[in-house]
Amino acid sequence: MKLSGWGQFPRIDCHVTAPRTDAEVAAALTKGHAIARGNGRAYGDSAASAQNTVDMRGFNRMIAFDDATGQVVAEAGVLLGDVINAFLPRGWFPPVTPGTKFVTIGGMIAADVHGKNHHKHGTFGAFVDWIDVMGADGTVQRCSPTENADLFAWTMGGMGLTGIILRAAFRLSKVESAWIKQTMIPAANLDAAMDVFEASGEATYSVAWIDCLSAGDALGRSLVMLGEHAPRDTLDLEKRRRPFDIAAKSKRSIPFNAPSFALNSLTVRAFNAAYFYNGQRKAGDSFVDWDSYFYPLDAILGWNRIYGRKGFMQFQCALPLDSSKKGLEALLRATSVAGQGSFLAVLKRFGAQDSRFSFPMEGYTLALDFPVNPETLALMKQLDQITLDHGGRFYLAKDARMTPETLRSADPRVDEFLNMRAAAGRAATFSSAQSERLKL
């Protein structure tokens, strides 16, 4: 079966099994070269192995919920969206969420995902109480910060390379409504945007959409969006009566791949200009429902197809705080000069992060989308170098084309990761197309 990540690049012919029981997972592992696959929302080749891809979406049952602590116990293939559907009406919301709800709990743990609140709450891993991990020999270990703590720590951000996550217990946060109070602040350039972030450390959520075709004095022109879960008594009467109800949305979908000329620098330029212009008009406060606030792109199913058959790639790096400004300027300038518009350009502030192999570090993270073509591939190499020059690193959940050398220059943690992989037969049993490309 041909598999790819969300970027539809690369496409790999994979042997796939879909186990539903621990025993079936164990049987699949005996063939080696196994990698768990969640819902395929990593952009590149993290969740594909030509020899042995283990589709975990059959592990889709919720096991327990504790109304006192908000702890959910669920199988690893349960979708985040289903967790929200089940527990938001009872006043609970995920403490950390990526920009799509179509991810599995296993995928969220393996990539140790971050949200718009990383500066305050860290990654999803901080809210995981325990996981059951199946190792190379088919035995299952319960891992937590106190039990099998090493394996627990390496599995957060370990990209499936430490074993198969079967089940997990994680905590939700209490919320009073399904609404977010959003504050939109236009920023004329990168300096202004960073000033807003630095002044908004107390905001629960913050993120900026950058118009990355703007240049000169307007380089990094952006809309910074802050958000708070709206307390019930701040809502208008109608919403207050049913604080967890939002109107059902109609889903639009992109049924087929658009021709690749649909997204060229002209259309991207027009999109960014329009987006920015509209955003400026909407500056200020508004109440936005959770689905539109956290997952605006989920409303257009299959939006990845607008990039056409050749697919697209995302570039996402994190830069340390002290070199963020210089680094971001250089990244944006290179993108602007190359004229390779990014449809999505997202900037976030990261808080401190202390973990074995997770992506975030205190500073800033920038994510850019590009269609796959020789020019953007060349540009991304340039962006790699700029990131390295500024002491940054790269998000494996977005990567589809980095070289092993780039990864090693960026991340001194690789050596220890390899030592961990060498133990307990992991390297022989678990590998993905990405781990083979990156020699991980």
Binding site: R20, R61, M62, I63, A64, D82, A86
Partner: protein, 246 residues
């Protein structure tokens, strides 16, 4: 909890049956899962209860043990409002051409057992004067084809049975829905290479079946394309059809 009527799923371990259970549970209906060895469905029960906040009960049921069907329905306690039969066995056509024993098992599991239990429920629903019966048949029953006529003939029987039942009960307040899925991505067809555009997700069946019950539809193909495909297949003259390999 809710005051919606309960939904009985016969074949409660089936992927389609469970998808239908989730769909009705999400709308607030209590669920009864009936299957062989039903206590092994504890995890599914818990999952449905957690997600949708409805009651779920488990009941032992063997479609082939037709003598037990009356007692099975008595044992449910309150008569469910809706019953969905997702029992079925695909079997191996080639093996079944050689072996009458296994062939008869497929025929019984797709026709005799389902028809028996639907018949018992029909009488109870008729007595009460309300309810909906949903039978999951298959497009395979629309015309016998070399590649699966043993399964297909049993489904054809079930389709005809449901059609007659609908005709009988139409004036009695009981509605009968015949579901004819094409390909559905379930464990029944795991490992077969199915065309993506023609293959439904079990979740789609759940949605379509709930809609058919609420709107009083009689016969549904799950993906509209299948209605067209099967119309063409049904209309190919036998002289030509017998030489094809569809």
């Amino acid at each position: 909890m809710s005051n919606k009527g309960s939904v009985l799923i016969l074949g409660g371990r089936s992927d389609i049956g469970l998808a239908v259970a989730h769909q009705f549970a999400a709308s607030g209906h209590p669920i009864l899962l009936a299957a062989r060895n039903s206590q092994s469905l504890e995890a599914e029960k818990k999952d449905i209860e957690l997600r949708h906040g409805v009651n779920v009960s488990l009941h032992d049921f063997d479609a082939l043990d037709t003598a037990s069907h009356g007692a099975f329905v008595d044992g449910l306690g309150d008569l469910p409002e809706i019953a969905v039969c997702a029992v079925g066995v695909l079997g191996d056509q080639f093996e079944n051409e050689q072996n009458t024993e296994t062939a008869i098992e497929v025929m019984r599991a797709n026709y005799e057992g389902p028809a028996s239990i639907m018949g018992v429920l029909a009488n109870r629903f008729e007595e009460r004067g309300s309810g909906a019966l949903v039978g999951i048949s298959s497009v395979a029953g629309d015309r016998g084809r070399a590649s699966n006529y043993i399964y297909g003939s049993a489904k054809a029987g079930f389709t005809a049975f449901l059609s007659g039942l609908r005709n009988r009960l139409a004036k009695r307040g009981v509605h009968v829905v015949t579901v004819k899925p094409g390909f559905v991505a379930t464990k029944m067809v795991e490992g077969l290479d199915l065309p993506e555009k023609l293959t439904a997700d079990p979740k789609e069946l759940g949605e379509k079946i709930e809609a058919a019950v609420t709107r009083g539809k009689n016969v549904i193909y799950v993906k509209p394309i299948w209605a067209i495909v099967m119309m063409i297949i049904r209309n190919i003259p036998e002289m030509i059809f017998k030489k094809t390999s569809i």
